[in-house]
Symmetry: C2
Subunit: 372 residues, 2 copies
């Protein structure tokens, strides 16, 4: 058996990196975080190299100090990633990042992979506005092609006349115009693929977004088994088609009993935080196992689980932990409106109990959250 | 609601400290480890202050840098602890440490608390050898009164004539002579008491020792519910009688359907490592919650769990993780015979599956373990 990686370089040092680092330590894996911010939350869970994304000397030093490189932040400049890939293996592959950092290519990839997507069209010029309206219709969402997250860089369009103003508001930059999906539910599925191509898929979760930011996830989603099986199949297709190594999330809508894929996050994802206490192996541990070349762990869940985000503010830790089945995850970030600063994990032996505890956690979160 | 502690000083920086530190980070608690060893395993999970146990300037600096002090190592000099207690609250209390670092006082305490113990007698002088033989009988175990762990400082006595040679072998130091208990099982129970006096008790576990070192634990123990209830009652009595704040373990024998208490570990314990993946809240997290003044978490277990120690050697991480339901905990210690360097956690949805996985893990451990 060949030796697995024991030093993993992680691009990005936010809370996702912090949770990756915490999962890595028991495995005997040392993490090195590359993040320009001197107060990167992940610095407590490994070594921290604070340098700019385009500092090739620092990038080289970083790569040479580890066995393999991964990322928790997908807006790493493509050139930096290519540079690193010349020094050490980068998992997930550069392909996963390239295909998901451009919303047009991402949707084309999903469609080609056999995963249903809503109608969409690129908008890069004034002329394309009319073509897009014809293809997609007057009710849609205009998004920048790249660099969006947590609802940033998006505008809802409710009439043909609103499209150009929306494009103006986004700076007439390269965009994607997607048909609005009148969805019944927002769901996501998190899955991990190992270096040997084997994969594990977590149960589908129900998500709720508020002002474009994930507010809470509930696992497993209250959906028919046929839809859950479709979601798992889609996740496996995406993993295999990307040749992905590590964890990813596929966000989807359920509309009229059909899944419509919305986007891929080529990394551990907020809608998978419940796996820390709710699944037999967390999404973070499985990501570390995958990129280090180790066998994956069981993605099943013994009970019911949920997650509530703390955005822009945190309650007293004691208030969180007074909720039965609750765990606190505080990222050590200074609270600012719209900034994810922690989350509450909840487990329960029944769905009814889970929903009661979830209501308490959401009540607490609403009291402190400042979304904007 | 008063603010909970966010900086916790931990005396000792071994693997127990490391696991406490990992449990503390998501709670937003920063740990400072006091340990003379420059390569203390816990150093990766917080700040590390490397100084001698009797360095009062360093101890003062340590105490002043935190809100509360706890320990993961019970052989801290009593004077050092008293000194620290003059600067910051020490949890569990000094009483927990005083009563458990002397095996005679510990047994007297247990008896007084209504927890059954085997016959025992002190041996400090030549004259006490005969008194002890008369009280305890010719089949017993001679142990040093203090500073023993992992079977060190112990001699089995099988005939009256063996007692004095055994005492000689232990350097004619202050000892306790305990009647040998012809036990059916070795069990233990881990429990945590909060600052407000509330307590949670984990399920009883079955333990197996090899050459005095814990080899494996299985949870829950395959014992009748009446015995499990007795064990829980004893744990609660001990917690309350000590005024303990934090986690402790009570090791017991089951002999003829009766529990006989063997010893108290006034800290997180090796027989509770299964709680990391097997219980809804780990013994480490509950210890940190308790000493920080936070509400305790659910000590129940949704499935079945076990733990296998790695002593003196580690297999390839991939070999551990290839066992379904297995997690790896490697402490980052240089392997030496008799030294605990890691453990394998196992969870399973049924006892049968657990025992099959456990057999695989024990097979792996036996291949690499070097006990002496």
């Amino acid at each position: 058996m060949s030796a697995s990686a024991t030093r993993v370089g992680i691009l990005g040092g936010g809370q996702l990196g912090q949770m990756l680092g915490l999962a890595a330590m028991p495995l005997g894996i040392e993490c090195v975080f590359y993040d320009p911010a001197p107060d990167a939350p992940a610095r407590i869970a490994g070594r921290h190299l604070a340098a700019a994304w385009d500092d090739s000397a620092a990038l080289a030093r970083f790569a040479e100090s580890v066995d393999v490189v991964t990322f928790e932040f997908e807006n790493v400049p493509a050139e930096s990633l290519a540079f690193l890939a010349g020094i050490r293996p980068v998992h997930p592959g550069v392909r996963s990042l390239e295909l998901t950092c451009d919303r047009i290519r991402e949707k084309e990839f999903l469609r080609a992979t056999g995963v249903p997507v809503q109608p969409f069209a690129p908008i890069g010029t004034r002329a394309e506005l009319d073509l897009a309206l014809a293809a997609v219709g007057p009710h849609g969402v205009l998004k920048t092609r790249s660099l969006g997250y947590d609802g940033k860089g998006q505008r809802v369009v409710r009439a043909a006349s609103e499209l150009e103003p929306a494009w103006n508001a986004l700076g007439r930059t390269a965009c994607i115009y997607e048909a609005f999906v009148p969805f019944d539910r927002e769901v996501s599925i998190v899955a991990t693929r190992a270096l040997d191509g084997s994969a594990v898929v977590y149960p589908v979760v129900d998500n709720l977004h508020t002002q474009g930011i994930l507010a809470r996830s509930v696992a497993p989603a209250a959906i028919p088994p046929t839809i859950a099986r479709d979601a798992e199949n889609y996740a496996r297709r995406v993993l295999d088609a990307l040749g992905h190594v590590g964890t990813l999330a596929l966000e989807m809508f359920v509309a009229d009993g059909i899944l419509i894929a919305n986007e891929i996050a080529p990394r551990v994802h907020n809608s998978g935080h419940w796996t820390i206490h709710g699944a037999r192996t967390s999404q973070f541990e499985n990501h570390m196992r995958a990129v280090a070349g180790l066998p994956l762990g069981d993605a099943g869940m013994p009970e019911f689980a949920a997650m509530v985000n703390l955005v822009g503010g945190v309650p007293e830790t004691a208030e969180i932990l007074a909720i039965p089945g609750a765990s606190a995850h505080l990222y050590g970030k200074a609270p600012r409106p719209g900034r994810k600063v922690g989350h509450i994990g909840i487990v329960a032996p029944s769905r009814e109990t889970l929903l009661a505890r979830l209501a308490d956690a959401e009540h607490l979160a609403r009291r402190v959250n400042r979304l904007a």
